[in-house]
Symmetry: C2
Subunit: 415 residues, 2 copies
């Protein structure tokens, strides 16, 4: 008897009607002979309401410290509600079920409240539930610390819960969402975007990090590390209708026909900082980035440039838009010490990326990219690359144009 | 160092502003040197929303069975939210605090989900919190069964939580609500109603059972059994303002000047059932009431009457309005077996009661009651009495008139 973890996000459980639809999807898997654990998010909108309340009570979601354990008590309540409601819905349909909170499973975490990491999931309780023929309906996004306090895993943590549970019980993991799979790019921008039948963990990881919002980065990392077979599919199916094939996320080896480029991702969440007139001696970069690291600012793309050997150097880097103001303050405070002449902020930028494991063995990917962008008159501000992706920072106004040009340039509309 | 449990109901924690007000009241007791545990209800309206969702998911609040454990998972989430929010509010004020869910304290209950009873509260965890100088902010209304499932105590259960915790830690219990004490009658009906400085447990118990909604009946029973000093007072005080004296609920012996009648209560929650033409042989009453008991229908007042010795007997009794339809069905189904001629339902009735421990030693209380009602032309349909109360069932239209007449007749406006 095979085991399956089904995960449903907030829009899939947004109201009782949708919870009933989820019930039917679960019933179909039970009927197919699976032992099923279901992981649910809070009803869409609930977590935002709860977070707003904690803000009002003096504990902002940003800047949580380990002592902000009560924050997690409040925000974890949303998943508790949906787990209870789905379990009773299943029982009402005649399916044996019960709800499980993080502390009941238990999902043991560290005590980094608000962004806890899962340490361990002892499988004994879930094993007993399966042995009793029960569907385990598990509140996502939450666990419990070793000293018995509720801990949440951070935004999107329900995906991570689902993958970790699948790893613990030795099952596959189906992530149900409001789209029917992973696409070559955002279909809202490019109508010719195609659903990918398969994508490798590495590619999915880059897609998630680079702006595709289908899966949480941490959950993909975990699935890759634990070799959990992952599938993305839509919960928005009518009664009697099957949910379709979705997209399978798997090892690169399992993908027979490797594409050079699998997808085009974009993100408008970054801001560009430029430091002008940096002094020309060692240790300058270290000073800049250690100050940002100390303040927990994540830096993404970095470029250092010098027009002529005799010129002072300029440094450009990107940070998350919400850290932009703070970054400027930190730089200004350190101006005398670092010794740059001026600092500028540009929030009007977008990062567009092409991703594909095939890049490893194919030259010319960058050439195609830069050529396609040049042809449309898109100016590239910063470039960064990894083994399987190339990202460029461009003027935000050109985002859609660039995405469409790249989608066509790599033939993604002809999959 | 004395210990104090402060309990705040749903209207007292209805929004962040009120939670801040609660924070100031707690801070004042901490400053006065008390070790404080706070018990909170869900924000006003939240529990109704949660119960509505469970209804929609197929588990109605009425008719819960022990297997409806998921119902409790959903409805207990409301108190979880307020406990977390109040704890962070206190911390924000510089007071050491943490939230406690029922399963963390733990409040161990039986497994009668939806109306669980508290078995035991091991005090060790709360003792440790006090030793660490922390305010314990406890989610009311909820506990945990021996096998680790969330259980709720039923409507108004937060009062019971508070009293049980006070008993477990050896403290007094202050119940904060939206009125500043227990009144001689409902001030919305009789403007001359006075706040009682003290009331005995027995009287409070009758008042609560007979319609005064200030305290939950079970919590008063428990306070009486465990000799927990109880006080009712208002949370609606402005910054810097003290909450007033409220009403102390205590042993009869502690009340020096005993009144004959302490209060007038009323309830419109009952319906009257009349069975006409009952056969004149033994066992008829037993047949009627055992059928109702089997169906979990609570019967309150009962009167059997016969105009002349040769007439068939009539039986009148009252049940809760929400059980009225079911009662009629049960009676109709049993008509042949019981042998009555007809059954009638009257939902247009009210029960008005006078309560006072002084009745035990004073004659003439009933005479005053019946005289006052007769003078206003109020017809009495059913009478029932106990050692310390007299209740009459009247036409609902006369409720306010009867309450005012009785309030005056016993001189309650001149306390």
């Amino acid at each position: 008897m095979s085991r399956l973890v089904m995960k449903f996000g907030g829009t899939s459980v947004a109201d009782l009607e949708r919870i009933a639809r989820v019930g039917r999807l679960v019933a179909a898997e039970v009927a197919a002979g699976h032992q099923v654990a279901v992981v649910v998010s809070a009803m869409a909108g609930q977590t935002n309401q709860l977070v707003a309340w904690t803000d009002g009570a003096g504990t902002a979601a940003e800047g949580l410290t380990p002592s902000d354990d009560d924050y997690d008590v409040v925000v974890a309540s949303g998943e508790q509600v949906t787990a209870g409601l789905l379990s009773m819905t299943l029982r009402h349909m005649g399916i044996k079920a019960r709800s499980w909170m993080g502390w009941q499973v238990p999902l043991l975490t560290d005590d980094a409240h608000g962004r806890a990491r899962i340490d361990e999931i002892p499988p004994a309780n879930l094993e007993a539930a399966f042995a009793a023929g029960e569907v385990a309906v598990i509140a996502g996004f939450q666990g419990v610390t070793r000293d018995g306090r509720i801990a949440t895993l951070g935004r999107g943590g329900s995906d991570t819960s689902a993958v970790a549970i699948a790893a613990a019980i030795g099952g596959a993991c189906d992530i149900y969402t409001d789209v029917d799979g992973v696409y070559t790019t955002d279909p809202r921008i490019e109508k010719k975007a195609r659903r990918l039948a398969k994508i490798s963990y590495e590619e999915m990881l880059e897609m998630a990090s680079l702006g595709a919002k289908v899966l949480q980065t941490r959950s993909v990392e975990l699935a890759m590390a634990k070799k959990v077979p992952l599938r993305v599919l839509s919960s928005f199916v009518e009664p009697g209708e099957a949910p379709g094939q979705g997209t399978i996320v798997c090892d690169e080896e399992e993908i027979v026909e490797k594409r050079i480029v699998s997808g085009v991702a974009y993100s408008r969440d970054e801001a560009k900082i430029t430091l002008f007139g940096l002094p020309d001696h060692p240790g300058v970069s270290s000073k800049i980035f250690s100050r940002l690291a100390d303040a927990n600012v994540n830096v993404d793309m970095i470029v250092q440039s010098r027009a002529r050997a005799t010129d002072a150097a300029n440094m450009e880097f990107t940070v998350g838009k919400r850290d932009a103001g703070r970054t400027i303050e930190i730089m200004r405070a350190a101006q005398a010490d670092i010794g740059f002449e001026d600092v500028a902020l540009n929030e009007d930028v977008a990062k567009v990326s092409v991703i594909g494991v095939g890049m490893r063995s194919h030259a010319g990917v960058a050439k195609t990219m830069f050529g396609a962008l040049a042809e449309k008159g898109v100016n590239i501000q910063v470039i960064s690359t990894s083994e399987i992706k190339i990202s460029v920072l461009i003027d935000a106004a050109y985002t859609e144009l660039a995405v469409r040009a790249l989608h066509a340039a790599y033939g993604l509309d002809q999959l």
